[in-house]
């Protein structure tokens, strides 16, 4: 399988009131259709790394940050950010990436159906049965005409997954997608998502702080190491293969 993400010496730092946080990725490669988990406790930089992979946050520096959603399309993400090619980045996001947040992320003024179809409409994709079948698999086909405010937290996450998959992206990113749900619901949803991802041949990267959960799902995990440097002023978090 081809490599979809290739990151070398990617660094992202934030300094607030003299206390710093630094995220380092020495070398990570993710192959197409791989299922990867970013594992680590809260605040270790999982979301930051995921946002960078979603092209929603720019790295401070990188020897390499390439995205190859398709063997014919290779993007040098770091250069795109440096050249401020916001519209190119938006186009890649629109076409290739589906992103599920820990909670929320649905537009409250659109019905479930309209939320799900928004990415398809943006890409001028025709209406077809695929959205409906994903919704059926996700178990939300009866809620399509409701507003998100009327759904339970679990149902909302199902809708968020359905929306992230509706335009057939090559990459699904999920940031603690089940953290706000009870364990049983969480497991049910993730089992369905795993099945869909396999069926649709999608690369999935999930951030999770729940070790036991990840091992059960049999994902490849990127481990995080933490150390305090610079006289205790900077907390450095490193993700390794």
């Amino acid at each position: 399988m081809s490599v979809i993400y290739s990151l070398k010496n990617v660094v992202k730092s934030r300094v607030v009131d003299g206390a710093g946080f630094s995220l380092v990725v020495p070398s990570v490669e993710i192959k197409a259709q791989e299922n990867v988990a970013l594992v680590g406790h809260s605040g270790c930089g999982k979301s930051t790394l995921l946002d960078m992979m979603a092209l929603a946050l720019h790295p401070d520096s990188a020897d390499e940050f390439s995205l190859t959603p398709d063997p014919e399309e290779i993007y040098d993400v770091d250069t795109l950010w440096k050249k401020k090619k916001q519209n190119v980045l938006a186009k890649i996001r629109k076409q290739h990436i589906g992103y599920v947040l820990q909670q929320g992320g649905l537009l409250p003024y659109l019905t479930v159906r309209e939320n799900i179809e928004l990415p398809r409409k943006l890409m001028n994709m025709p209406d077809d049965d695929s959205t409906r079948s994903i919704a059926r698999v996700m178990g939300i086909h009866r809620q399509l005409d409701k507003l998100p405010g009327l759904l339970s937290a679990g149902e909302r996450q199902r809708v968020a997954f359905t929306r992230a998959l509706s335009h057939r992206p090559s990459i699904l990113l999920a940031d603690e997608p089940t953290a706000s749900l009870d364990p049983i619901t969480a497991r049910k949803i993730m089992a369905v998502v795993m099945e869909l991802v396999k069926g649709l041949k999608i690369t999935m990267i999930t951030a999770s702080h729940d070790w036991a959960h990840v091992y059960k799902m049999d994902l490849r995990s990127l481990h995080q190491e933490a150390e305090v440097i610079d006289n205790g002023n900077v907390y450095q978090s490193t993700f390794r293969d």
Binding site: S47, N87, A90, R93, L101, G105, P108
Partner: protein, 403 residues
């Protein structure tokens, strides 16, 4: 194009979904805009016309000659041609310019002053007719009341002279063309054509007036000159210059210069007060609208980030808050116009009976409403664009997570 259309529909869906919040913005806008419109309605209505009335009042524009002089027709033509002069007409000696008027509705004969008049006489501006020839007259309100006559009726005018040791009286049958309102001239005056005034003087001086079959000395080579005049400046602003000019020519005149100064300073002070209120109002209005729309963009950060994450381009995202501000601007303006129109009708109907003349107290022209709309839309768009640019500059990830 697709994204553009989508943003229009999404911004409208969000706006109507949050109708309570949107309603508050609209109410807030209207409650600042409506009082400003009413203030301007009053300024444009009653205050303007009161000031114009004071400024253009003929009494304040009049320049009266003092004593007796000698002015030829050429002198009158020179001043009549000046653009600072609205009207000028000769006066004859005051003793010669009187007539005895008698009507069948009144018992007494009234000796009345004669004024020559012509087109554009400021005292008769409100009337559509002017006396012409020898048999027409316009009466001032005061003498019309004494004679108990109305427009269209006929009265008898008579003149008396001592001629070659005999007392003579002639009569003219006069038609009352109209009555000049009391607010323009309070004295007892009969306005006639210059011809009739001159005929009167000729008769009293013992000369013949062939047109009226009045006998007397014939002296047809005489070049007429006039002892006095009635002059009105175009505006009170021209009065002082004209007075100075006439006095430099050695002509003694009087005008209400002190009163003019008072009126001008009232006009100036009121204008200053209105502009101060208007500026403070407009700035306050801009800030209150701008602040609420700017705050709205901040409140929408997460949603805007999500739209960017889904793939909307930064530049198009700005449209989202801008369009919503436009909706607020348009609806707020509509509501303000509605409130203003209700207030305008109420004010005009409540206070109309207290006014002497037919006058609207509160009034705005259609273009004033569009200026208000333009200002509102400009402020709304500016505030939202500034907020929107800030929102589009932050990285999509920044607004994604709640704190």
């Amino acid at each position: 194009m697709n994204q553009f259309k989508k943003i229009i529909s999404l911004s409208f869906r969000d706006y109507s979904h949050e109708w309570r919040m949107s309603g508050c913005f609209v109410l807030a806008l209207a409650s600042v805009l409506a009082p400003m419109m009413i203030l301007f309605g009053l300024k444009f209505g009653i205050v303007s016309s009161m000031i114009t009335g004071l400024i253009e009042n003929p009494g304040n524009r009049e320049i009266r000659s003092v004593g007796s002089g000698s002015y030829e027709q050429a002198w009158f033509d020179k001043y009549a041609g000046r653009k600072e002069v609205a009207f000028i007409i000769p006066k004859t000696r005051s003793l010669a310019a009187t007539i005895q008027l008698k009507s069948k509705n009144a018992g007494r004969i009234y000796s009345t002053e004669l004024f020559a008049t012509a087109e554009k006489d400021p005292l008769l501006e409100a009337l559509k007719v002017k006396p012409e020839g020898f048999y027409q007259v316009i009466l001032s309100d005061s003498i019309a009341n004494k004679l108990n006559v109305q427009k269209g009726e006929r009265i008898d005018g008579s003149l008396v002279r001592q001629f070659r040791g005999k007392r003579e009286r002639v009569h003219i049958d006069l038609q009352v063309l109209d009555v000049a309102p009391a607010n323009v001239i309070s004295r007892s005056v009969a306005f006639v054509s210059l011809e009739l005034l001159l005929a009167t003087e000729s008769f009293k001086d013992g000369r013949a007036v062939t047109e009226l079959n009045w006998s007397g000395n014939i002296n047809d080579k005489e070049v007429r000159d006039y002892p006095s005049f009635r002059m009105y400046a175009r505006s009170i602003r021209n009065v002082e210059n004209l007075v100075n000019e006439l006095e430099q020519d050695g002509i003694n005149v009087k005008a209400n210069i002190a009163e003019i100064k008072t009126v001008q300073s009232i006009d100036q002070n009121l204008s200053i007060i209105f502009w101060i209120i208007a500026c403070v109002g407009a700035v306050g209005f801009s800030f209150s609208l701008g602040a609420s729309l700017w705050a709205n963009v901040d409140r929408k950060r997460k949603e805007l980030s999500i739209l960017r994450l889904v793939g909307f381009q930064g530049g198009k995202i700005i449209l989202f808050p801008v369009l919503q501000s436009m909706y607020t601007g348009l609806l707020g303006w509509l509501l303000a116009v509605l409130i203003y129109l209700i207030a305008e009708q109420t004010i005009n109907q409540l206070l109309a009976p207290n006014l002497e003349i037919e006058q609207v107290i509160c009034y705005l022209l259609p273009q004033h409403f569009f200026w208000a709309l333009g200002l509102t839309m400009f402020v709304a768009a500016t505030a939202a664009i500034l907020g929107g640019i800030r929102a589009s500059r932050i990285e999509p990830s920044d607004g994604l997570r709640d704190i």
